[in-house]
Symmetry: C2
Subunit: 358 residues, 2 copies
């Protein structure tokens, strides 16, 4: 089977790999219907140093179950599944507590499972999924043996694919920041996660949504997703613009969707006293949080890596009905074979997010 | 009138000062019934450098209104009042949002009001209270002209006095950490605020309350306040003790009530993935929060300076009925004239908290 491998920074190749087989009783094999490149995949791509050895890459994929291990009870061959970016057992105290990202038996896509066996990356034709029942979320409507009669077109694939990561991550930011009716929201970051956060804020009933964006094409999607205002200024000027738009106060909820020192600073500057900052940007060597500012302003900071599996049940019906179209964050679709070009396009900001079709 | 003045680190004196008079229409004059020394008063007392000039000190007091300005409508002469540590106007957007500590017109006890006039410290016989109606909370039961028939004995004075700061601050930690029925709570810090946090966690229905204490006298009060367990270990060993007590998981809610690098580290180590850390320890040049740890563990950090006025209405009835006795944190009562000894006793940890009676 074909799989995307990172050899070194900037060096992505699609290569032949042995087709994965069941190893553990709790495994499933999934034939990938669509995968994609995540903003965080660009980190090793842009890193100073490459992986010690060539490594499969990708952690966002959807597809069909083609085999299940002996211990698998609920999943069936033929199930169409969404595979959240965080593999999780579903049984340990952290999973039962709803924090699958802290799963004590978590396997790493493109890395190893708990027992040390290799696990494929998501940007592949076929993936072995450890902890299959704790991880995979079945979409019965797309699973014929469960009576499903639909097939997913490209637009639906895109939106389903966002539920593995970016849409669930943006939704996490909004949920932990307590976004709700009547509230003012600032979203820092206009990548796929930031745009998903805008859509999530709208879905949760926010009254005013300010997207901080400097890219007209992304700002246009933000507006389509529900942003009432777009602010291009940054730093103190950006925060003052927010204050002016909100009639003299800063935002009730700020969603940080980047992960840099600058974006967190922007988020803190934009949050009113007593406000909530939901952050999901993976901290990129960023600053530690300035406790003095948080203390005097009583800013609540919540978020982190999103257990996106939690949100699939909540978001899926609207995706299936077409009321919710988070797949709009994909502005490019390529065959899996073009993965190297997908990385280049995202790295050079020619694309916001690329879907790969095997 | 007599007032406590800090001249330099370690140099506290009780001196004659002019009796304060009304300056603004929104002022009230309060004759102090009781005041006390806060843990945070020990900072300038222990500092390397003293204030530029001798400065009144103290921010926790209760007493009786003896005069009100022309713009005061609700407060009356004769009202027995609780004066929260944070002076606040009650009208600005931050006050209306429930964050009085961020009040845009806040006056500083022992400092200046918005118009630059001196304000007495709370460890005085008489205090001018700017923003009187936004700040003072009336206790009708102790106000004869409102039909109040009670007088406060020393035990009641103690408990009422905690509502100005320490009890409200401990309660803030517990509330923002989402303490509720069935939850496990760790309290870091066994000073007056930490003990109040234990009492608050009990009041909010926590199932298990672990107090981290190494002082047997304070641990005894913690147990009396509702602590189910006391842990003396610190650092990794302390967190492992918590995990063992809780059957293999860390705490749902951790209340940080100290403000040092070590206490925050202890709090983070003790919080389970997806847990809540409520902090009220004033950051003492402490560390910034390590975002990487928060991110991977999805720890929510909330708290900061407590707007204790918010909690008085909720806590007062139980204090008046005698069901709630936060005043137990006072282990010493002295006349105001002995303020220098009160500071020494707290500095040398011979006392947890000292009430001063004018």
């Amino acid at each position: 089977m074909r799989a995307t491998i990172i050899h070194a920074p900037g060096d992505i190749r699609v290569e032949d790999r042995p087709e994965p087989r069941l190893i553990h009783g709790s495994d499933a094999i999934v034939r990938v219907a669509a995968s994609c490149v995540c903003g965080s995949d660009l980190w090793p791509y842009r890193a100073d140093q490459g992986p010690e050895e060539p490594k499969p890459i990708g952690h966002e994929f959807i597809g069909t179950v083609t085999a299940v291990g002996d211990d698998v009870r609920e999943l069936q061959v033929g199930d169409f599944v969404i595979s959240p970016w965080a593999n999780s057992c579903g049984q340990c105290p952290d999973c039962r507590n709803g924090v699958q990202v802290a799963c004590q038996h978590r396997a790493a896509w493109g890395g190893r499972d708990e027992s040390g066996h290799d696990v494929e990356g998501g940007q592949s034709e076929v993936v072995r999924v450890p902890n299959a029942e704790g991880t995979l979320f079945v979409v019965p409507e797309l699973s014929p043996q469960r009576g499903g009669t639909r097939t997913a077109d490209e637009e639906l694939l895109k939106s389903l694919l966002t539920l593995t990561d970016v849409m669930g991550t943006g939704y996490h930011a909004a949920k932990v920041a307590g976004v709700g009716p009547g509230q003012s929201v600032v979203v820092v970051g206009d990548g796929a996660v930031g745009l998903s956060a805008v859509l999530s804020a709208k879905l949760l009933g926010a009254e005013r949504i300010i997207a901080m964006s400097r890219h007209e094409d992304r700002a246009a999607i933000a507006r389509e997703f529900g942003a009432s205002d777009v602010v291009a200024e940054r730093g103190k000027a950006g925060a003052e613009q927010v204050r002016e738009l909100l009639g003299g106060v800063l935002a009730d909820c700020v969603l940080e969707c980047v992960g840099t020192k600058e974006s967190m600073d922007q988020a803190l500057r934009s949050t009113r006293a007593g406000g909530h900052l939901g952050y999901v940007g993976v901290p990129a060597g960023g600053p530690e949080l300035p406790l003095g500012v948080l203390f005097s302003k009583n800013i609540t900071v919540a978020g982190g890596a999103a257990s996106t599996r939690n949100y699939i049940a909540e978001l899926l019906p609207a995706v299936l009905s077409g009321d919710l179209n988070p797949g709009r964050v994909f502005d490019s679709v390529m065959p899996l074979e073009n993965a190297p070009e997908a990385y280049r396009a995202m790295d050079e900001r020619r694309a916001t997010k690329v879907m790969l079709l095997p």
